[in-house]
Symmetry: C2
Subunit: 483 residues, 2 copies
Amino acid sequence: MIHFKAIFKIMGGLLILLGLLMMPSLAFSYYFSSGDHFSLWVSLSVCLVPGVFLFFSFAGQEQNIRKREGYLIVALSWVFMSIFGMVPYLVSGVIENIPDAIFETVSGFTTTGATILDDIEVVPEGVLLWRSMSQWIGGLGIIVLTVAIFPLLGIGGIELFVAEAPGPTSDKLHPRISETAKRLWLVYIGLTGILMLLYYLEGMSFFDAFNHGLTTMATGGFSTRNESFAFFTNPIIHYTAIIFMFLAGTNFTLIYYGLKGKFNKVWSSDEFRAYLLTILFLTISLFIAIYTITDEGIEKTFRDTAFQVISLITTTGYVTADYTSYSNGLTIVFFMFLFFGASAGSTSGGIKFIRHLTFVNNIRLEFKRIIHPRAIIPLKINNERVTGKVIIHIINFLLLYLMIFVIGSVVMSILGYDMITSFGAVATSLGNVGPAIGLVGPMDNFAFFSPLAKLFLSFLMLLGRLELFTIIVLFSPYFWRAN
Amino acid sequence: MIHFKAIFKIMGGLLILLGLLMMPSLAFSYYFSSGDHFSLWVSLSVCLVPGVFLFFSFAGQEQNIRKREGYLIVALSWVFMSIFGMVPYLVSGVIENIPDAIFETVSGFTTTGATILDDIEVVPEGVLLWRSMSQWIGGLGIIVLTVAIFPLLGIGGIELFVAEAPGPTSDKLHPRISETAKRLWLVYIGLTGILMLLYYLEGMSFFDAFNHGLTTMATGGFSTRNESFAFFTNPIIHYTAIIFMFLAGTNFTLIYYGLKGKFNKVWSSDEFRAYLLTILFLTISLFIAIYTITDEGIEKTFRDTAFQVISLITTTGYVTADYTSYSNGLTIVFFMFLFFGASAGSTSGGIKFIRHLTFVNNIRLEFKRIIHPRAIIPLKINNERVTGKVIIHIINFLLLYLMIFVIGSVVMSILGYDMITSFGAVATSLGNVGPAIGLVGPMDNFAFFSPLAKLFLSFLMLLGRLELFTIIVLFSPYFWRAN
């Protein structure tokens, strides 16, 4: 038996929250007289009315949330957000059909950042802020999931690596979780505020600063400008984005420790070291490679390289330069970045370093094991032994990810797109990045895809954002069978 | 301490064998007066003289062959075969430079079948037979490896799945192994003879029948004709090839049981059922898809579909039709077949069904485990429980395979080839298939690649043929460290 009443109550709460989070858009709409306040009032009501109804109808029902409810809540939350979140686009007429609106909304809440809008700059400010806000809400949501839900569900081995995540002591939520979640939200909200201020002081308009603050910290990548970050010519703005994209891809628990001065805790994280060193290594080597090809000058080349590397690896997806314009070899390298993902416990999507690290270190030990078959050679991450079960979890996740990438690319090819575009669109959707290669390169958008392709890519974004298993398990017969 | 003397002795024996196996080419050279008998005499001597020297110098040395020697013997065997096997091409002038000769020889011994020859039909018969023979020798060699060496080394989890493979009882070779190996060779040699006869009776010339008999059973794919099997217009020849490619991709132990009438043993193999049913399913569904696109008639379309599907999945690589000419969607489907591979215990290369099966079944159970976290849900293959260790072995293999594919594609792109061609060339080399997509489609050859690219692809063929770990472990510091 699935406890649906508890689920309905939570969905009600979610809708109320969603409605309330439309208020900043309303404020901006009035401030700029952007003419979309009516659409936003409608959208707000469409969220609040059923939200209040659901929440209070089931408020008295005390039911435990167990694993099954957990999965449904996670999946339904994103589905509800996507359905109700697209109302502002449709009512305002910014987007005129449902597949497009679903794509844009899902791209928002999954912090992907791929867009079907040809001209972003004509969108009224209220709706445009809602678009950025959807990414920030998505980032907020993913923190809840990582701290509170994924450890309970045991998804993809991630449970062991979120520092300080209390983990499930029984089948119920642990009380310390709300403590941890609050701490991380504080980091998230605090950094967003600081970043908005910095962007503003560095020369962005108040509106641009507000939007880009939201979408940077969410590793989202939606911009208010058609040219994305290439629009802003002040190098300091680019460097600020580089640093904050990096932070948004860092485990927020580590940032919390960093803010408290406990740097040894930060540095002792294997994932953080891998994340930092990989980015440094890739930036420097690509900088050298690109510098020999282009003639943009040292500083500009370095800045563009660092920006693109970090933007793709953290799954943000802002662009300041066309990374597909250098050479075949460099294009495929940048394409590979779509498979990275930053850290667990951040807002970044994709595979994430902890899983790469587990795989690579385990493979290295595998060679040692081959030579010494009778020795017991355990894998250690953060100085703790990783069990075989968790290794299987993680490697399964990696393979499943690649399998979905391959099947997704086949589907896109069958829908009629060339192979490179299919690879790119699927990789960037599944990894929640944004730009890709082929016809969906850094200078393009997703408008030209057929409605079916848009819905399929939206599904892939959800799949990737919710760590695959959360969604796929719902399609498993075991899930629905009463036990 | 590595026991080099035992290794030298075995390399000597191998060279003697290689020299002796050049004799059929010599016979054909005289029979056809093809003018290459001098080159073949030279090549034969180049093998026999150092072979006899090595073998008898170290004949008296009794040394155990342990794991370390096992790895070196496997890797060095293929390296020795490739170096000495290219002599006929170079001395006869059929191939004029060393990278090309290495590519063609490695493509032979690894049973890949990719060629750098623009015009195969001008090659003198003696050398041409040697080319086909190299694939057959490669097939022979892989049977030895699978039965005798891989179980001892514990490579990629394959040890558990070769039916009747005795497995290591200690660190030494099991005496029953030579029994099993003899049985499988008998199947291999017997089927090759039958197939040659069938091809001949169905209208191939004696020479064509002899060559294609060798390269079909090796799942090699070298042809004596520029058009490959499209040259032969008799449909019966195509159907014969379809059936024997399928057999060559079947675990030879099962064929042995089949010949003894023990069909229940054949059918109880999970890998065989997956192999057979997958091929049937893919052939039928692709036949329907292709039939709606082309207008070749039912029989021809069905035959071409079955031929191409089985040729790619068994990693043979013969072609009768251009599978890249239908549509984007179908091209990517055929491209995916480069990642299949047929059965363990056959001459087929690539990943192989047993690994796919393990992964897919384990993922399905993973969902069950997610729902019932406290239940113990073991994976069973062929009604036997698969341990977590073997699952990790196999999943590691799969991921490592994909990682090498990705890194290989990046290398090829950096060498200047477009992405599709890079993906195709790397996938087909690593999977020991032959044809691919892009500039190395089914109607193309590998002549245009730079010498560096040819050497790199040759390395990938070796890596794939020797189940990755055998080669990579040699690059591991653990291997060379004395213990």
